[in-house]
Amino acid sequence: MDGGREPAQVYGSMQIELAWTIIPTLIVVVLFLATARVIHAIQDAPEPAGALDVIAIGHQYWWEFRYPKLGIVTANELHIPVSVSGHPTPTFLQLLSVDTDHSFWVPQLAGKTDLIPNHPNRMWMDPQRTGVFLGQCAQYCGTQHAKMLLRVSVDGPEDFASWVHVQQKLAVEDAGAIAGRRVFERNACMNCHAVGGTPANGRFGPDLTHLMSRATIAAGAAENNHDNLRLWIQKPSAIKPGSLMPAMKLSDADLNAVVSYMETLR
């Protein structure tokens, strides 16, 4: 001490330094070992026999879902079966992308995994309860990254089976919608969209075969109802500016007809 003004000048202490080096190191070792077990358990989990296979393909700004063994192609809203602990039926997703990087994130069902072009990824979800779970793209993919939303419906076995049954069918042929179907097939719609059982088999945009089985359109950006459908086809920028759906610039008559046609695609 210097005349009582300055406190004791302590330069260090070997024992204290050692203690607060060794203890954190041990903590790190324990934390790491515990973590490594969980990493392996999640990433290297084998796929059980009852698992459902889904291929998720990221687009700017929507999700394409294919169920290869069930012959289903749909978009944006995923239906998967609830998994019962005795007889697990988890969903294993293969993640692909046609353009930029995306990320599949439904927080209540699983951690996120990215969809990267030329770099297939794999993840699984093992939902234990039914319900609708919300998520969205988590990797910035362009202008409308914010509205690339996800809806996952975890269904009980009967609900899932009936959903699959509907999705496997070709498009409903409603004689009253012939006019609208002609509009659809004579404009550029067929270049991007597919409707099962018709000549339309474009893959750039979502598959519309069972459009009305979905609660939302534009990857969750708007509720799936008459007015929104109409607005989306006529002026997508009103709902999702920057989306790659072009404004179709149809006459009122054509627009009404094609919307009526869309509404028959249950």
Partner: protein
């Protein structure tokens, strides 16, 4: 320099026409003036980057807001991140290094004064180039637009196919140019520290600030260059038809990520280590004790530098690496927390048993200690890959890194400003305004960034221009925005303090804080030649030795 003594000419007048003064500043090679230029330019970009942040926060105030379009929002977060990292944080830290390192080692200037000036102007003009993009960027949305690819410009979003026009080229070129400036400054700092120390200042007697800037400069050489390389590759892709990151030709988007994060992670240590340096100088002085465990502080810093080169892919836990790679990066990321934690313990050990003076620099330092600790803990959380699979790319990460950058780096910078402003200008900053600045900023900071962790946990991803109602994010975002405005007001108080005190502040004298390193042995501000006589030192605290002749440090080292 062959002579140790400089004679001062008498009869030199101070008054000069302002054009002359401006010319002096624009052509200066004096490390002190360049340091101040770096600091002033970073304050300018801080204001711009801050406005961008406020625009982001207003847009996110509630769901489905329409304050700005998605295109503008995406440019805002891209420019905010790029500006703050490259044109605020790096320049201000280089500025303080420029100013302080020669003074602290008893030198008259940096090793290469002209390279110093060149590096500054490269850095500053890089910033101007980035902002010229608002005028010249002709992107998809009409004439003139800033880059909107995020501050990482992930492939293939940054490719010609997805970013036509020139907006992202401004990002690439501005960072290339300022990157070369950074490398020049780093080389200068290393050469200065290794070659210009005054007699007696062995490497083991350098102030910790000098040590840490040496480590930082070494890291800059190895960290900035991978980004420069990747950006050259990106330019080859965009302009020469190359396929480095062209996934259609078999290229890899993940390769860009590796290259970017091999830069990106050491970069954040480049930013924080000079702040550790500030803390290691300021905390001892306001605790009236030497730093606890000088050799361990040096060793820990070097250790951090090495280990931090091995952690980069913790930014890539979600991209689909296998479990062994994820485990490796989990381990290294947790490991780098050990030397970092040790430093926190050492600072606390310095305060322990000391006679704490709660002046403004110390208030900000205590804020730093507390906030950096919390930021480190959320970092360790995310080091655990399974946690990160939920938290990555969400507002939890945004909260974490702002906790480090604002709660850590900016608080340490504020401490450094209040501590060294008297040396640079000869006047003390106002304590009263300083207290307003500190408390307002503290409240605003915590309101924003404590709360921000929660939307992340609730599933809110980052980089979204709006969000759906009913997710439970609305109120939280509103609180975050309010905190941002409180911080903005605090910054205005700070700027007012800087300006008012320049003209009306209490005169400081050469050593207002009763400190111990060489910069306090010369006048405030120092003369152009720094020291009339080149000092010789015999310990780590040369001024302590002078003030305590009966009990010098040299007895204990």
């Amino acid at each position: 320099m062959s002579s140790n003594v400089i004679t001062v000419p008498v009869g030199q007048t101070d008054a000069r026409p302002w054009v002359d003064e401006l010319h002096q500043w624009l052509t200066t090679v004096d490390h002190k003036r360049l340091g101040i230029l770096y600091i002033l330019s970073s304050l300018l970009f801080l204001a711009v980057g801050g406005v961008e942040a406020l625009i982001i926060r207003i847009q996110l105030m509630h769901s489905h807001n329409n304050f700005v379009s998605p295109e503008v929002f995406n440019r805002m977060f891209t420019m905010h991140g790029t500006t703050m990292i490259f044109f605020v944080a790096m320049p201000v830290l280089f500025g303080f290094a420029n100013y302080l390192v020669p003074l602290m080692i008893g030198a008259r200037d940096m090793a290469f004064p002209r390279l110093n000036a060149f590096s500054f102007w490269l850095s500053f003009l890089g910033g101007l180039l980035l902002y010229f993009s608002f005028l010249g960027g002709s992107g998809l949305y009409g004439a003139g637009s800033a880059p909107d690819v995020g501050w990482w410009s992930y492939a293939p979003l940054g490719a010609r196919a997805f970013s036509p026009g020139h907006s992202s080229d401004y990002w690439t070129l501005a960072l290339l140019v300022s990157g070369f400036g950074s490398i020049g400054t780093a080389i200068n700092i290393i050469a200065t520290i290794l070659c210009l120390r005054c007699p007696g200042m062995k490497i083991s007697r350098m102030p910790l600030l000098v040590w840490m800037n040496l480590v930082m400069a070494g890291m800059v050489l190895l960290a900035i260059t991978p980004l420069s390389a990747a950006q050259i590759m990106l330019l080859i892709d965009r302009y020469l038809g190359g396929h480095f990151f062209d996934t259609q030709a078999g290229g890899s988007a993940v390769l860009w990520m590796h290259f970017f994060w091999i830069f990106g992670h050491p970069e954040v240590y480049v930013l924080i280590i000079p702040c550790f340096a500030f803390m290691s100088e300021i905390i001892p002085v306001f605790s009236r004790k030497p730093i606890f465990g000088y050799p361990v502080m040096v060793a820990a810093t070097v250790c951090i530098a090495f280990v931090s080169m091995s952690v980069w892919a913790h930014h890539m836990f979600t991209i689909g690496m296998n479990s062994y790679a994820n485990s490796f990066f989990t381990l290294t990321t947790m490991a780098v927390g050990v030397p970092t934690g040790i430093k926190i313990f050492n600072w606390i050990g310095t305060m322990w048993g000391g006679r704490i003076q709660f002046k403004i620099p110390m208030l900000f330092s205590i804020g730093f200690l507390f906030q950096f600790l919390i930021a480190g803990l959320t970092g360790i959380m995310m080091a655990c890959s399974p946690f990160d699979w939920q938290l990555s790319l969400s507002y939890f990460v945004v909260a974490h890194f702002h906790y480090v950058i604002v709660g850590g780096i900016l608080f340490a910078l504020f401490a450094a400003f209040y501590y060294w402003y008297p040396k640079m200008t000869g006047r003390m900053l106002s304590e009263r305004l300083g207290k307003w600045h500190f408390w307002l900023f503290l409240i605003g900071f915590h309101l924003t960034f404590d709360v921000m962790h929660i939307p992340g946990i609730l599933g809110m991803p980052r980089r979204i221009y709006t969000y759906e109602p009913g997710r439970g994010w609305d109120t939280l975002n509103l609180i975050i925005t309010i905190g941002a405005f409180i911080q903005a007001i605090a910054i205005l108080v700070f700027v007012a303090n800087l300006i008012v005190s320049y003209f009306k502040g209490v005169r400081a004298g050469s050593d207002p804080w009763d400190a111990w390193t060489l910069e306090w042995s010369t006048s405030s501000p120092p003369p152009a030649y720094n020291f009339a006589t080149v000092p010789t030192v015999a310990s780590r605290r040369p001024l302590w030795d002078e003030k305590h002749l009966e009990d010098p440090d040299s007895q204990y080292e």
